[in-house]
């Protein structure tokens, strides 16, 4: 067995990166030539396993290093014996590959595991080059085997690490990551079993435990969610103490006998366990990672190195996963906030395009985000607001000014709601806008309230303007601030004119009194009340009833006065007319001239006459019938007679009044006169119906009926006048007749009026003396004259309660006849 001369040349060619080492003593054969010896030395010395083979691939030569490494003899190696050094599982595939290379006749490479003398397999790179003859046939194969175990392992480690990190990066769940890690560890360290225990975020309890190559009964047998301590097992202890825990022999180590870990481990045929704590970058225990063996033992230096590498890897993975989860949780929470916030949130690109909206917004418009982005947000705006809002938005996008606008947006059901939208830009450090954020708030209720408020204000305004009265508002000193439209129209002046001289429109006679009353109210805060004549645009004065109340602030200080003036002119005139007609009635017999009487006389007389005529005509018609209806005739004639009597009475009365004859006195019943007067309803317009208390069976008195009526009318009229201003108590009018012994009859007229000032009492019955603004001062004096001409007396007394009582007496005619 000698290598051909060219052998070394061939080796040099394929091993051109190998430098020759100094010649050693590794000799294979005893008698080589110097050249051959040299070549042999080189072949044996190169730091590679070298060999040569025949054209068919069977080994012809292996160098000493090959033999040293495999522990095989030359005899064992040549031919096909070298295949014994291959990994049993690879023999067939490698032999096949080698035969294919040999057939191809081209240089080739392959990787395979070769068994070392001690039984360990290491990876080798095999390179082969053919040596050809002139005819191009293979003469020999020359090859080397280079140890690539370390590179291979580094590659494997990297591949595993890459996969684990990829799992982390692609967001695979933590258990997947942990399983991948364990598989990785078990690939790198063959025959071992691996587990990873992860603590919860508080670092005090076990969250999960993964051991893919150990039956699940092992992990299930460990207590989860339990606070970790040194008692639970080596993994718990490692995490708890943050130190590596080596259990070289589970069987003899009694530390976890009580917790049950020892028996659990033994039940799964785990004989040794090396637990290493997994610490975060901030030295917080994340969990622990353990390697188990079916045999007893302690880690080698190499193991320790690899374990350190793994621990770092899994720490990075878990930490990354943790922060990812925390981020996702935070994001989820934010999302939840964004989606549940009672507002509508959207983000927009710097050039103004919609990017995303929150869930609430989508629910509101009832569509998907894609649709909104596709169709554009303008579709959801109210047609009346669209242009304005889009313009405002364009403006903000162009200038970067904050966006703020109110407008209507359509809801899923087609109803438009009002929104207040604000948008702010997010800028980068250079101040460039990255994105816009908008928040819209539903302000429909607000808008509705606003509208309702405006509407109610408008209505109130309309009410104030149409109220049949003049309203003015002044400051506390009486300076006019506001007057209603109606007031100004009514007075025919401008607000300025009213402000500058409100007194000019008052009647000069009312001015002093008005100013006094106002001043009083402004000083005391008491409500103001006044009747005053005001000049109208046509120059005429009309009566107004003016009232004012103060408006006070929270401190009770007067801030404004509210005046309401109502036109009472018609009322006032009617009142005057009424009083006048009352007076006329009472005075008519004495004061009215013949001419004034004519009208009423004509009417009075005409009535019975007209009735007579018509009755007469009817009478004739009944008589003219074929069979005269005498019943009808009789009735008609009866009416004619009554009319005749009525007529003559009227005429007699007028005659008496007109002729001013001596009063016709006759015996009469005073009660009857009182009743007649009380029955004259027209005098009680502003006066209560009298309560009568008449003495029964009064004797007759000799008196003039008409004059007596006049006295009674006058007293009733006075009582009514005295009671007119009374509002705070019942107005009562009483008429009483009493027989006072021996021969005097008393008539009393009692009221609950304002009474008479004692100062005025003495002059009460004097002619032309009056306490009434419109009185003539004649009533009581005439009444007294009449009573006295009848032999009686007339006087007044204040009541025990409010009001006055007037009395007059009449003498009684005993024995009848005047």
């Amino acid at each position: 067995l000698r290598p051909p001369t060219l052998t070394h040349i061939a080796f040099f060619r394929i091993m051109d990166d190998v430098k020759p080492s100094p010649i050693g003593s590794n000799r294979l054969h005893a008698e080589p030539s110097t050249d051959e010896h040299y070549a042999q030395a080189i072949v044996d010395m190169i730091p590679a396993l070298a060999w040569s083979a025949d054209a068919d691939g069977s080994a012809e030569f292996v160098n000493q290093r090959w033999l040293d490494y495999t522990g095989l003899s030359v005899e064992q190696a040549i031919g096909w014996g070298w295949t014994a050094a291959l990994h049993p599982s690879e023999i067939d595939t490698i032999v096949e590959q080698w035969r294919a290379i040999a057939t191809n006749m081209l240089p080739a490479e392959l990787e395979c595991r070769l068994r070392r003398f001690d039984g360990m397999y290491r990876w080798f790179m095999v390179r082969a080059t053919p040596s050809l003859d002139k005819a191009g046939r293979v003469v020999k194969w020359f090859g080397t085997c280079t140890d690539i175990e370390d590179r291979r392992r580094a590659e494997l480690f990297l591949a595993g690490e890459k996969q684990v990190l990829e799992f982390v990066a692609t967001g695979r769940p933590l258990p997947d990551v942990l399983v991948a890690f364990c598989n990785h560890v078990e690939t790198i360290i063959p025959e071992c079993h691996c587990s990873v225990m992860v603590l919860d975020s508080t670092g005090s309890a076990i969250e999960q435990m993964v051991a893919p190559s150990i039956p699940s009964t092992y992990c299930d047998g460990l207590p989860t969610n339990r606070r970790i301590d040194s008692e639970g097992g080596p993994c718990a202890m490692a995490a708890h103490r943050k130190t590596q825990v080596i259990v070289s022999n589970v069987e003899t180590d009694m530390r976890w006998e009580t917790s049950g870990w020892r028996s659990l481990a033994l039940a799964h045929d785990l004989r040794s366990c090396w637990s290493t704590p997994i610490l975060s970058s901030t030295e917080i225990a994340l969990g622990s990672f353990a390697i188990y063996w079916r045999t007893t033992g302690i880690p080698t230096e190499e193991h320790k190195k690899i374990i350190a590498q793994f621990t770092h890897l899994i720490a990075v993975a878990i930490e990354r996963k943790r922060s990812e989860e925390a981020l996702r949780e935070r994001e989820e929470r934010l999302r939840l906030i964004v989606d549940t916030i009672p507002g509508f949130i959207s983000t927009w690109s710097a050039d103004g395009r919609l990017e995303t909206v929150n869930q609430r917004t989508l629910e509101y418009i009832g569509t998907t985000l894609d649709e909104v982005v596709f169709s554009g947000h303008g579709d959801f705006l109210h047609p009346d607001d669209r242009e304005r809002m889009i313009n405002a938005w364009s403006h903000s996008v162009e200038t970067g000014e904050p966006f703020e606008v109110e407008g209507r947006s359509r809801r899923a059901d087609g109803v438009y709601h009002w929104f207040h939208t604000r948008g702010l830009p997010l800028r980068d450090t250079q101040g460039r806008i990255l994105r816009w954020y908008k928040l819209s708030t539903d302000i429909t209720h607000l808008k509705e309230t606003e509208t309702a408020l405006r509407e109610s204000e408008r209505r109130l305004r309309a009410m104030v303007d149409t109220i049949p009265g003049n309203i003015t508002i002044t400051d506390p000193a009486g300076e006019v601030e506001i007057a209603t439209r109606r007031t100004l129209d009514d007075l025919g002046i401008t607000l300025e004119e009213l402000k500058h001289n409100s007194n000019r429109i008052l009647h000069p006679d009312d001015l002093e009194m008005t100013i006094k009353k106002r001043q009083h109210s402004f000083e005391t805060g008491e409500p103001y009340e006044n009747q005053v004549r005001v000049r109208r645009p046509d120059g005429r004065y009309r009566w107004y009833f003016s009232r004012a109340n103060p408006l006070r602030n929270a401190e009770g200080r007067i801030v404004q006065w509210y005046f309401l003036a109502t036109d009472i002119d018609d009322q006032k005139r009617a009142e005057e007319a009424l009083r006048k007609s009352q007076a006329d009635l009472a005075h008519v017999t004495r004061v009215a001239s013949m001419g004034q009487l004519t009208g009423s006389i004509a009417h009075e007389v005409n009535r019975p006459f007209a009735a007579v005529v018509t009755n007469g005509q009817a009478c004739l018609r009944w008589l003219d019938r074929e069979i005269p209806d005498l019943t009808e005739v009789r009735l008609a004639v009866k009416r004619i007679i009554d009319d005749g009597i009525r007529g003559s009475e009227v005429i007699e009365r007028i005659r008496r009044q007109v002729k001013k004859e001596e009063p016709a006195r006759c015996l009469l019943d005073v009660n009857e006169v009182v009743r007649e007067i009380s029955a004259m309803r027209e005098i009680y317009v502003e006066c209560p119906i009298p309560l009568m208390d008449l003495a029964s069976s009064l004797p007759m008195v000799l008196a003039d009926r008409v004059q007596l009526q006049q006295v009674l009318l006058n007293l009733i009229g006075n009582a009514a006048d005295a009671m007119r201003p009374v509002t705070d108590r019942p107005r009562k009018l009483g008429i009483r007749t009493v027989l006072r012994e021996p021969e005097v009859l008393v008539v009393a007229v009692q009221d609950t009026g304002v009474g008479v000032d004692p100062v005025d009492m003495d002059q009460l019955f004097e002619t032309f003396y009056t306490t009434k603004p419109n009185g003539l001062g004649m009533g009581l004096s005439i009444s007294r004259s009449i009573v006295e001409s009848h032999g009686g007396q007339l006087w007044a007394e204040p009541n025990a309660g409010p009001g006055m009582t007037f009395y007059f007496t009449l003498p009684i005619q005993r024995g009848g006849g005047a």
Binding site: G599, A610, A611, V613, T614, R621, L635, R646
Partner: protein, 213 residues
């Protein structure tokens, strides 16, 4: 004077209402009117009359101008406001020209100063009752016409309107964009439903209904 209550269309007995406050005059008026066989009902005040519900018969009102409470003139305005067409004869003891003019303007039949001739009053009453009969007849006819008109189809109403305007069938057809035959049929149907004998009748009905434009 023989005042008859016979009217071609109203067979019910007529009635005269009297509002007069003077009891003697009230009796006299009642007696006088009854003497010519007309039903009378009297009231002392205007509000008594207003409160009274009247039967649906031809009627008129003899009304005193001066009354306690609501005056005769005020009652007249109130009746006008209520669209009550009852004819009114005023009687008064002191009539002045403006008052009289106002009353007549508001549709009073007569204004008689007291004392008046019985003949004048009774003539006025007859005149008033006739007027009321006519009003009532017109009212009844209009109600009937409206009812008939309500039964016409929209197209028949169109045809009726155009025919009343004097358009020939051909013109009507052109106006409505249809055939002459169709118009003839629709016109016949309208006349039948309205109870019109001739086209002229139909035109008159149209006027009464206020359709002519």
């Amino acid at each position: 004077v023989k005042a008859t209550t016979e009217s071609p269309k109203v067979s019910m007995k007529a009635r005269v209402f009297v509002v007069e406050d003077d009891p003697s005059m009230r009796g006299a008026l009642s007696s006088l009117i009854r003497s010519v066989e007309i039903d009378v009902q009297t009231f002392p005040t205007a509000s008594d009359f207003l409160r009274h519900s009247r039967p649906e018969v031809p009627a008129c009102l003899v009304l005193d101008v001066r009354l306690p409470g609501m005056s005769g003139l005020l009652l007249q305005s109130e009746l006008a406001r209520m669209n009550d067409p009852i004819p009114i004869i005023f009687i008064t003891s002191h009539a002045d020209v403006p008052m009289c003019a106002r009353a007549m303007k508001l549709g009073a039949v007569e204004f008689l100063p007291k004392p008046f001739r019985d003949q004048d009053l009774l003539e006025a009453i007859e005149h008033a009752l006739q007027r009321d009969c006519k009003t009532r007849a017109q009212q009844t006819e209009l109600v009937k016409l409206r009812a008939s008109y309500g039964h016409l189809t929209p197209r028949e109403r169109e045809v009726m309107r155009l025919v009343a305007r004097g358009l020939l069938n051909k013109q009507t057809a052109a106006e409505l964009g249809t055939s002459e035959v169709t118009v003839k049929i629709q016109r016949a149907s309208a006349m039948r439903k309205m109870g019109a004998e001739t086209v002229v009748d139909l035109a008159k009905m149209s006027t009464k209904l206020g359709l002519s434009d």
